[in-house]
Symmetry: C2
Subunit: 354 residues, 2 copies
DNA sequence: CACAATTGCTCAATCGATTGAACGCTCAAT
DNA sequence: ATTGAGCGTTCAATCGATTGAGCAATTGTG
C-alpha cells in the first residue's frame, strides 16, 4: 500500500488539494469549520502523512539541520553535545543530520557539500574539544561553530568559559583554606585553548588573594590517569614546605590518577590532599571514592545554543566573539580544609605560594 | 547569490537540462564526449551542486537513513554505535538522520512519523543497551533493530553475543588456573538480556571443565563502582576455602569497585585476585592500574551491520533470529594465576567449586 | 434592486530535478 | 530516391506539495 498523498485526502474529502493543504497547515481563516472537519477526517482515514521532500522543494525549507563534527566516537562528551543539539532541534520541529568526518578534510568537504545539497536549514560545525579550527571550504554563511572557534572569525561560535572554570575551581580551594595549590596540566606540543584558559583562571584566582604562583606547582603530564599519577608523584615529592595541599587537575582522568598516587602514599583525599577535576565525566568523577569535586563542561547547553542560533531563533553576539557558556562547579567530596600539619592560620591575609 | 540550478548549467553549456542530468549522473552512453566536456565545464563554472530535495522527490530515494534511539546522552557506548552506523552510511553515499527520543514513546512515535515524512531510505531503531524493546507504532517494515530485539519479532536485529562473551571471560580465567570464579552480576528487578546471557556463558564455561557452580559466588549488586565494592566485600568475606580467586564482572565499572575493595584489604590485582570486566569502557578499563582485562562490546560492528541491512546491501538471516556479533576479549593485565596460598594442583582433573 | 464586499473554495504555476518517448539528423543499404 | 537504423539530443510528464490569484455564491449597503 503506497503512502497516501494529499490528493488522496482531497478526493475523500471532496475538496481540492489546495484546501487540504490550507487546512492541514492551519491557514484556516477562510475555510468553513465543516470543511475543515471533513478534511481532517479524510486525512485520518487515509492515514495521510505529509511528504516533507515535496514540501521542502516547494518551500525551500527542509526542517532539517546539519551537524558535522570531527569525531563522535572517541569522546564521551559527544553525547551530551548531540543530545543538547538534538533536543533543541526537536523542540523547533527540526531533524538533525549528523556527519562524523573523523577529522579528514576531504570527508569534511564532501559532508558540507552533501548537507548543502540536502538543503539543510542551518549548519553546525562541532569539535569534540575546545580549540581553534580551520574553516572548511564551502561552509555556508551562518554556520555555527560548536565547542571551537573558527580560525578566521566571521561565524557565530560557542565555547565553554574555561578561564572562569579554572578560576572557580581554584577559588573553591582557596575558600577551603588552601594556599599551596597545584595545577596538574596536560603536556601537549600545542596546548589546546582549554589548557591555556584554565591556567589563566588558576593564576587569576591566586592573584585575587595575593598568592604568588609557584612555578613548581604547575606541572605538565599526559592527559590520563597515568599522567595524573606521575603529576602527583612530582608534586608530593616536593619538600614538605613547598608541597601542595590541593591539586586542580586539567581533567577528571588525571584527578583519578592523583587519587591513586595519593592513596599509595597513604594520603587521604580530601584529608591530606584536596582535589578538583574538570569535565565531570560521570564514569570517572562519580565513581571515584570519595566522589570527585569537579567543574562540568556545559556541553548540552552549548549544543542547544548552537542549534538555536543555527535555526535563527536566537541571535549571536554582534561583536564576532565566541559566546562563552559558564562551567558549573559540581560539589562532591574531594575538597576539604588543608591538613593540620600544614595549617593556614586564619585571617593572616594574603600570603605567597611558598 | 542563489544556488545554481541544473537549468543554469544547461544554459551555459547550450544543451537541455536533460542532457545535463544525463551527463552528471553518468548515463553517458549516448552523449558525445564533446558535449560531456561542455556540460562538466559549465557545471564547474557555475558551481553547480545538485538539489537532493528535488532529486529525491523525483526518484523517491533520498540517500538518507533514519536512526532513532532511546538515549544518546547517558551512555558512552552510543558514540561507537553511531560512528559505526555513520561510517557505513557514508561509504554507501548516505546521510544519517539522528533522533534521540529519551525513551518517551510519544516522542518516539513523532520521530518515526517525521523520519517517514522525510522519505528516509531505511530506518534503524537502536537501544543503548542490549534488551527487548516494544515495536513503536508505525515503524516501517524492514527497520533494523540495533542492540535490541523487537518483542514481536519480524524485524532484522543485531545484538552482541553476550553468552559467548561471558563464556570466553570465564574460560580465560579457567585457563589461567582458577577454579573458584565469582560472577559479580547486576541487581535489577528485570535483569537485562545481557545479564542473563553472560551468566549462562559463565555457567557454560564452568560446566565445560566440570566445575559445579557455587551459588555463593554469584552475587548481585548495583551496576557501579560502589556496587563492585560491595560485591567484593561479600565475596572476600567468605571463608578462605570458599573465597574466589577470580571475579568476572558484569561491567568495567563494577570491576573498578572490585579493585578498590581488593586494594583496601591489601590484596593485589592480579596477584591475589584476578578480575575480568565487560564493556571495554576506555575511561575505566584502560585507566585502571593494572589495566583491566575485559570483554569488548562490538558496538561499531553492530552499527555497521544494522546500516548495511537497512540499506539493503547485506541480507539479514532468514530465520528471524537476531544476528549475533562476537565480543572480543581484550587482554590487559588483571588476570594471572591464582595465588599460591590457594593453589590448584596441576593435572588434578575436574573439581568442584567448593 | 443594483452593486460591492465578503466568504469559501479552486486553478494553475511553481519548486528542481529525472526519465521514457520522441525527434531530427546523418549515413548506409536497397 | 526511398527507407531504415543509429546516434545525440530534447520534450514533456512527473514526483507531492504550497500559494497567489481568481471565481462563484452569499451577504451587506445605499
Amino acid at each position: 500500500m503506497p503512502r497516501a498523498r494529499i490528493s488522496d485526502v482531497a478526493q475523500v474529502a471532496r475538496v481540492s488539494t489546495s484546501t487540504v493543504s490550507l487546512v492541514l497547515n492551519g491557514r484556516t481563516e477562510r475555510i468553513s469549520p465543516a470543511t475543515q472537519e471533513r478534511v481532517r477526517e479524510a486525512a485520518a482515514t487515509v492515514g495521510y502523512t505529509p511528504n516533507f521532500v515535496a514540501r521542502g522543494l516547494r518551500t525551500q525549507r527542509t526542517r532539517t539541520l546539519g551537524l558535522v563534527s570531527d569525531q563522535i566516537a572517541t569522546t564521551p562528551f559527544a553525547g551530551r553535545m548531540l543530545a543538547g543539539a538534538q533536543d533543541a532541534a526537536r523542540e523547533h520541529g527540526h531533524l538533525l543530520i549528523l556527519v562524523d568526518t573523523g577529522g579528514d578534510p576531504g570527508v569534511e568537504a564532501d559532508a558540507v557539500r552533501a548537507l548543502a545539497g540536502q538543503q539543510v536549514d542551518g549548519m553546525i560545525y562541532a569539535a569534540m574539544w575546545h580549540r581553534v579550527v580551520d574553516v572548511p571550504a564551502g561552509l555556508p554563511a551562518g554556520t555555527v561553530f560548536l565547542d571551537c572557534r573558527p580560525a578566521t572569525g566571521g561565524y557565530p561560535s560557542v565555547v565553554p568559559d574555561d578561564r572562569a572554570g579554572g578560576r572557580d575551581a581554584v577559588r573553591l580551594l582557596i575558600e577551603a583554606g588552601h594556599r599551596r595549590i597545584a595545577y596538574a596540566d596536560i603536556d601537549e606540543d600545542q596546548p589546546p585553548i582549554a589548557s591555556e584558559e584554565r591556567h589563566e583562571g588558576y593564576l587569576e584566582a591566586l592573584a585575587e588573594v595575593g598568592i604568588t604562583p609557584d612555578p613548581a606547582l604547575h606541572v605538565r603530564y599526559e592527559s590520563s590517569a597515568a599522567g595524573g599519577r606521575a603529576a602527583a608523584g612530582e608534586l608530593l615529592d616536593l619538600p614538605a614546605d613547598r608541597r601542595p595541599t590541593a591539586v586542580f587537575c586539567f581533567n577528571d582522568r588525571m584527578a583519578a590518577g592523583i587519587y591513586v598516587a595519593a592513596h599509595r602514599r597513604g594520603l587521604d583525599v580530601p584529608g591530606d590532599l584536596s582535589v578538583v577535576g574538570y569535565d565531570d565525566q560521570q564514569l570517572v568523577a562519580g565513581e571515584l571514592d570519595p566522589p570527585l569535586t569537579t567543574i562540568a563542561l556545559p556541553h548540552a547547553q552549548m549544543g542547544r545554543w548552537a542549534t538555536e542560533v543555527a535555526l535563527g531563533v536566537r541571535t549571536p553576539p554582534e561583536d564576532d566573539q565566541p559566546h562563552l557558556v559558564p562551567c558549573p562547579v559540581v560539589h562532591r567530596d574531594s575538597v576539604g580544609p588543608p591538613p593540620a600539619a600544614a595549617p593556614t592560620p586564619a585571617g593572616d591575609g594574603p600570603r605567597t605560594n611558598p
